[in-house]
Symmetry: C2
Subunit: 168 residues, 2 copies
């Protein structure tokens, strides 16, 4: 029977690998165009939206925190002190390494109950509902917003960069 591990881990590690690829392209663009990388990392689509760097940290937090809950594990805590492209890429890599360290046996078929906060309020749902209504949409939201911030700033990206190669 497919478990939550099968649905969640390859999907989210793939999203994060594609995010790393997008960040690498942004770093190369900044270097080629003599743009201060901090300008891109601090860019946002609207004054009260989070900038690029924070989008990457939140994608990481939702991935490690959400999946840890589903695996009944304690996710790692990190400081959110990344300020450069290499540091943000390393943050995404550490997140992938954590997800890949979890064992398939730690996941169930999606029927067990998971507790989590929604806008500060405690909620519960099945692991399956939590994955499909919270974790996956939220990870993709922040990866897509990171992409959109960079695209809006002229980094040459296409949707294939966001989706990644099918074979990967």
């Amino acid at each position: 029977m497919p478990t939550m591990h099968d649905a969640a881990i390859p999907t989210i590690t793939r999203a994060l690998k594609n995010l790393i690829h997008v960040l690498e392209k942004a770093a190369a663009h900044a270097e080629a165009k003599k743009i201060e990388p901090a300008v891109l990392i601090g860019s946002r689509l609207y004054p009260d939206m989070f900038p690029l760097g924070r989008q990457v940290q939140i994608a990481s937090d939702i991935a490690k925190g959400g999946i840890a809950r589903m695996a009944q594990a304690e996710g790692p805590k990190w400081e959110d002190n990344e300020t450069t492209f290499p540091e943000l890429i390393e943050r995404a890599r550490k997140t992938i390494a954590y997800l890949e360290s979890l064992k398939p046996e730690q996941f169930d078929d999606g029927s067990r109950t998971v507790s989590f906060p929604v806008q500060g309020q405690p909620k519960t749902a099945t692991a399956s509902k939590y994955l499909y209504t919270r974790v996956l949409p939220n990870v993709f939201f922040h990866c897509a917003t990171a992409y959109n911030i960079l695209r809006h700033n002229g980094v040459e990206l296409g949707k294939a960069d966001f989706l990644g190669p099918l074979e990967a």
Copy 2:
């Protein structure tokens, strides 16, 4: 055993319902601020990116086309002639109605092979891989980009509008 129906249909109909909610807020914002709706519908984050209206059409196309392939069905073809908020909302509603018309028995456990184009090249993958690496990321990408275009234009939206209420 959970089928691809369980993983795909509630997840994607939910994403489209949240997209409708975001479009309704945008329409109300345009009316309140006396903004021509066509200005928002034609907005884009970069000159060679698709504008809002096309983002909605593509989200619909990927949802109906991708899910039809997984269900071994023929998805409906629509004209992409929506130019107003009510028309774009109706397009998303029709897409939801099509997805909900498919029967759970039309889906498998994700192991059967699906054929689909990637940048014009024919590809095959299991239905499960197709869902998790193409259909879901792609639908969320266009829903998030629609949200980001509107947010960038000053429509008051928060991530809760994108994720929707847990109870829904």
